[in-house]
């Protein structure tokens, strides 16, 4: 909302400089977002007179104007369609800074020199009107600085108001807060309605069919108005508030709306269609044309003002085309009503527009502000349009909405705020906000109906806080709350996982979980999706049911930006809708991905990253968290290459998958290099009870290290070999590690060579060479028998 700073000064009676006004209002919850001087584009702009106009050869759209600006007479080029000799106009002199960061310089067009510029309202920052130049009254004194002539030394304050404060949506409302901050009362304009002897009730009657949604409807009749433009003081207030002046009647309704916050509507009485206002809900399919010329098929959620036959206005939102005030209008039916917020919200949503009126009714207008607003407008119509105000208000207000009364404990207020305010101070604050306060220990507060947000004691405490100022509430330095703060396993788990995996060279990624449902269906055809009803983009219309979906997107993004070597991990959530077995599920998971090569360096040769880089990182986690070893069992995972995909199992339970991304999925994701991914659920791992490791005494006797190399068929699994070796070696083998794996020239095709290092040790003696030889021989026999192993060296 935009309001004139001068207006607030006048209504509050204060003289605070604009910055102070803005800061103090902001700190009481009536936030000023922007301060714009209204005369900022009027420096070096003066009133000038157009003395002469000449056409320019070869240019039919521009003219050479000679203007008198008081101090001199100058030639300038003007392209405005409405320029004419004898006009008084705003003339920008060289060096003037106009809107759009435009600084006026001497210009030459078609060989003609131009030393100034006649301006439109837009160029001067007055309005958006750029249809022609501004033209002033003929008595405007030539040479006067424009801002002085227009009396335009003001500031436009832009307010960012909270939705609970409809009372602040007006000049009076803002001034009320300002005045209260200074401990004074707002100065409402004095009313003096001069009524004629004719009775309004002879001209119009009002019937409300649904008083739940229209608790009050008041009307006045103003006869014989003369439609013309409003006086400048009204236009100026409207312009500073960002509203375009139209004619005196419409301007008055807008002026009163800005001043009081109460929306009004003026109908052309003679085109209203009857002498009867009937307020009712629209019927389904009822036709109505709003004054913007748009036709609507209505529904009962729209409240309609009718003349008994057809609709004339969509209540509280917009008037109808047929009864709009025109230049020929003579008699006015003026409406001031109170519509319930809920009906206006539904109505404007259905009609599809928000207006100054609908916003105020939707947030909550004042049912008891109806009369002040209609009287204010009527008196202005009398004063400015020569209208004759008929006697009386036709007011349909069957059930009066009364101010609420709230009991207020000053002790409670101090307890909630942590303050030491006196009861008198609280009374002063509440009274300055136009509340009626009585009582001593326990106050009884009568809250005016323009404050629909105040219903409870806490709402009043809030008022005390904002008027006293949060800055005046002391900061407590006591640390209160429970004595002990636990750290939960899931949080330490996340933190440790990050430490381990970043230590292993993996970069952490974070995804929001919204994915493209079609892509998700391709990647995980068998998994249910959580679907978004109203996605902001079709690319983000489902929640991911595996982390891999996001990982693939991230891998693609990086590769397409030439980051081709990636070690990535994410700790995140996969989402599942309810099914026959489960409620909504959010599964916490870890995902890992590698692609490209290992880092290059002066001492290392890059090699392609692959499966074992993933399992290596996982082994770090397994070791760190003392989990049982992960088993990788050939599985069929929809998005992984069939021959290269494995289920991750732990104690027989499948917790995830690992492998190389299938070419079909890589193509979909537009990835052209091999990607290896792993993803596993951490839910069961977190629940797992991992025993605290007990200390094992350090060995007393030396170890006997031995190596052994043998050739086996290429498809023999290393894990099976190790298990067999450990079993054959018995308790003396402390450790068995593979240290070489070879296939190639020296080995028969279809076979591979594996070399293991075995550490033998006994806890009660030094082992002799002979003893170890016996074990080594036994291993050789077993491997020969079980795997057809050919021992190369031992």
């Amino acid at each position: 909302m935009k309001i004139s700073y001068q207006w607030i000064l006048k209504l509050s009676g204060l003289d605070w400089p604009v910055k102070e006004m803005a800061d103090r209002l902001t700190n009481c919850g009536t936030a000023v977002e922007e301060i714009e001087p209204t005369d900022q584009y009027m420096e070096k702009v003066v009133v000038g007179a157009v003395i002469d106009l000449k056409s320019i050869k070869g240019a039919d759209k521009i003219k050479l104007a000679t203007v008198d600006v008081g101090s001199e007479t100058m030639d300038l080029i003007c392209g405005a369609p409405n320029v004419a000799v004898g006009q008084k106009v705003p003339v920008a002199l060289l060096g003037a800074k106009l809107t759009g960061d435009f600084v006026l310089k001497k210009a030459k067009i078609r060989g003609v020199e131009s030393c100034g510029m006649i301006c439109s309202e837009r160029e001067l920052g007055i309005s958006d009107d750029h249809s022609g130049i501004m033209v002033f009254d003929s008595d405007a004194p030539v040479g006067t600085p424009l801002a002085d002539y227009l009396d335009f030394h003001d500031h436009q304050l832009t307010f960012e108001l909270t939705p609970n404060r409809p009372d602040s949506m007006s000049a009076i409302g803002i001034a009320r807060d300002a005045a209260a901050l200074a401990g004074v009362s707002v100065r409402r304009p004095e009313l003096d309605v001069v009524e004629s002897s004719e009775k309004a009730s002879d001209y119009v009657s009002v019937r409300v069919d649904d008083s739940d949604v229209c608790p009050r409807y008041a009307a006045r009749i103003i006869k014989n108005v003369k439609i013309c433009s409003s006086p400048w003081w009204i236009q100026k207030k409207l312009l500073v508030s960002g509203i375009r002046p139209i004619n005196n009647i419409v301007d008055i309704t807008n002026y009163v709306l800005l001043e009081t916050g109460h929306p009004l509507h003026a109908f052309d009485y003679d085109r209203f269609g009857s002498k009867e206002v009937i307020v009712r809900r629209a019927t389904k399919g009822e036709k109505f044309t709003t004054l913007d010329g748009k036709g609507h098929d209505l529904i009962p959620d729209v409240l309609l003002i009718t003349n008994g036959k057809s609709g004339v206005a969509a209540a509280g939102v917009m008037g109808g085309l047929d009864s709009e005030v025109e230049n020929t209008t003579a008699n006015i039916l003026l409406e001031s009503a109170y519509f319930a917020p809920s009906i206006i919200r539904k109505s404007r949503k259905y009609l599809g527009f928000v207006t100054e009126s609908s916003t105020r009714f939707e947030k909550g207008a004042d049912p008891n502000g109806v009369v002040f607003a209609i009287d204010r407008a009527a008196s202005l119509m009398h004063e400015l349009c020569g209208g004759e105000v008929l006697s009386g208000i036709v007011d349909c207000y069957p059930n009066e909405i009364k101010p609420v009364t709230i009991s207020f404990r000053p002790t409670r207020c101090n307890a909630i705020l942590g303050t030491n305010l006196t009861t008198d101070r609280m009374k002063e604050i509440l009274s300055s906000l136009e509340m009626e306060v009585t009582g001593e220990d326990k106050l009884i507060v009568k809250v005016p109906t323009f404050r629909p947000d105040i219903e409870r004691e806490i709402d009043l405490i809030e008022e005390v806080a904002r008027m006293e100022g949060w800055a005046n509430i002391p900061d407590a330095i006591a640390n209160v709350g429970p004595l002990f703060t636990p750290i939960h396993r899931c949080d330490s788990f996340t933190e440790e996982t990050r430490t381990v995996l970043t230590g292993a060279g993996f970069d952490e990624i974070v995804n929001h979980g919204l994915v493209n449902s079609k892509f998700a269906k391709e990647v995980n055809p068998d998994l249910d999706q959580v679907r978004i009803v109203n996605p902001s983009s079709s690319d983000l219309d489902a929640m991911r049911n595996s982390l891999s979906l996001s990982t693939l997107v991230v891998v693609e993004h990086n590769i397409s930006h030439r980051n081709t070597d990636l070690h990535l991990f994410e700790i995140g959530t996969a989402y599942f809708p309810p099914d026959n077995h489960h409620d909504w599920r959010e599964d916490q998971r870890i995902a890992l991905a590698v692609t490209g090569n290992t880092p290059n360096g002066w001492r290392r040769t890059p090699r392609p990253l692959d499966f074992y880089d993933l399992t290596g990182a996982i082994e770090h986690l397994v070791a760190h968290f003392h989990w049982p070893a992960f088993e990788y069992v050939t599985g069929e995972i929809s998005y992984l290459e069939p021959a290269l995909s494995f289920d991750i199992r732990i104690k027989g339970q499948v917790i995830g998958s690992i492998g190389q991304v299938a070419p079909k999925i890589a193509r979909l994701a537009e990835i052209k290099q091999p990607v290896y991914m792993a993803e596993f659920s951490t839910t069961s791992l977190l629940e797992m009870n991992v025993p605290i490791p007990s200390f094992k005494p350090l060995p007393q006797f030396p170890a006997a290290p031995r190596d052994m190399a043998f050739v086996v068929d290429a498809d023999v699994l290393a894990g099976d070999l190790l298990t067999a070796i450990r079993k054959a070696a018995g308790p003396l083998a402390e450790e068995v590690n593979i240290f070489d794996l070879y296939t190639g020239k020296q080995i028969e095709k279809g076979r591979k060579s594996i070399a293991v290092a075995i550490t033998y040790r006994s806890s009660d003696r030094s082992l002799s060479g002979e003893e170890v030889d016996v074990v080594q021989d036994n291993i050789a026999v077993v491997l020969k028998k079980k795997f057809n192993a050919e021992i190369r060296d031992k």
């Binding site: 909630i416 949060w470 429970p482 949080d491 230590g503 990624i509 978004i532 902001s536």
Partner: protein, 337 residues
């Protein structure tokens, strides 16, 4: 000449050659010729068995002594030769060869920093689901049925009458439901809103909410904890400004500005020349919220606050595009240690 004499002659010879050796290779030659498999001292030791028993011990001891002495001399000589002669050269300007470290995502770094700061003040961390019910996200938090936040334009709805939570405050309700005061918790997590993605807005964002419910909690306590947090997080000199505001679930409510972390309040581009940066919202938990979860709002009061992690990260690290967080470009990720 006796064998013993031979030994002392060999020893002298060895010493002499050691003193003449000018390289490690030359020293090694000496070692080989005297102590190697076919060395002269080694030969004597090998032949000990052929000697009569009475000589064996005496000569054995002498030979062993000689061996030790020669070895010692060789070691000493090595020290004198020094490493210059070893032809090794260290270039300390070469990069080291440890495994490169990965990076924790900047959003998580900032979230963790915030959480750690509050943990230090006794706030426990709690989590809740990202897919929420209308009840926890709105109703229990005192949002009226027709509040604009419940609109399709602002909130992402999920098939099956759920919403993607628009704040982590629902966790507050869940924790208040299952605990008894005093309760002091922070709730970090992902939130969502129906928004077109641009440099300044995203469908997803990260929030850290916090609250305390106990007897006698006041605005004063709220201010105290936020001042303590901001000083710990932004530095001792930071100033706070509380502007009254409105949230359905707190009353009274305020928005909090900190003095600009770049210019200190003098005014600069970051703070749009206001001197202040808006960083969090806060207030006293509305009595309706406490009553809804069955906590007596006359006996207990509480405060709550919430801050946006992306905003703080953007301010702190001068990141100018919110989309960078979720793009996960490794050139971005690797800038933040």
């Amino acid at each position: 000449m006796s064998v013993l004499d031979d030994i002392s002659v060999l020893m002298e010879k060895a010493f002499e050659r050691i003193s003449q050796a000018d390289s490690l290779a030359a020293l090694n030659d000496v070692r080989v010729s005297f102590l190697g498999k076919k060395g002269k001292i080694t030969a004597i030791l090998k032949d000990l068995g052929k000697l009569p028993v009475e000589e064996r011990r005496q000569i054995g001891a002498a030979a062993n002594n000689a061996r030790s002495a020669i070895e010692r001399r060789i070691e000493e000589a090595k020290d004198h030769l020094g490493s210059g002669d070893s032809r090794t050269f260290i270039d300390p300007t070469l990069p080291g060869t440890a495994q490169p470290l990965g990076h924790v995502h900047i959003l998580n770094q900032v979230t963790d920093d915030i959480c750690r700061t509050f943990y230090g003040m006794g706030f426990e961390i709690a989590h809740g689901p990202d897919i929420e019910t209308d009840y926890y996200n709105f109703e229990a938090l005192n949002f009226p049925p027709d509040h604009p936040a419940r609109d399709m334009q602002d909130t992402l709805f999920v098939e099956g009458e759920r919403v993607l939570r628009t704040h982590t405050t629902p966790v507050q309700v869940r924790e208040l439901e299952r605990r008894k005061p005093p309760i002091k918790i922070i709730t970090p997590g992902r939130c969502f809103r129906n928004e077109a993605i641009s440099t300044r807005a995203h469908v997803a964002f990260t929030q850290v909410d916090g609250f305390l419910v106990d007897e006698g909690i006041s605005v004063s306590d709220l201010k105290g904890v936020l001042v303590a947090f901001c000083k710990a997080f932004f530095g001792e000199d930071v100033k706070l400004n509380f502007r009254p505001s409105f949230f359905p679930f707190t009353e009274p409510s305020a928005e909090v500005d900190v003095s600009c972390i770049l210019c200190g309040g003098k005014g600069c581009q970051l703070c749009k020349y206001s001197g202040w940066l808006e960083i969090l919202g806060c207030g006293m938990i509305d009595p309706n919220v406490l009553d809804t979860v069955g906590i007596d709002s006359e006996k207990y009061t509480g405060y709550a606050f919430g801050l946006g992690v992306e905003r703080i990260a953007m301010l702190k690290y001068k990141i100018n595009d919110i989309r960078l967080f979720f793009n996960n470009d490794v050139r971005f990720l690797s800038q933040f240690k």
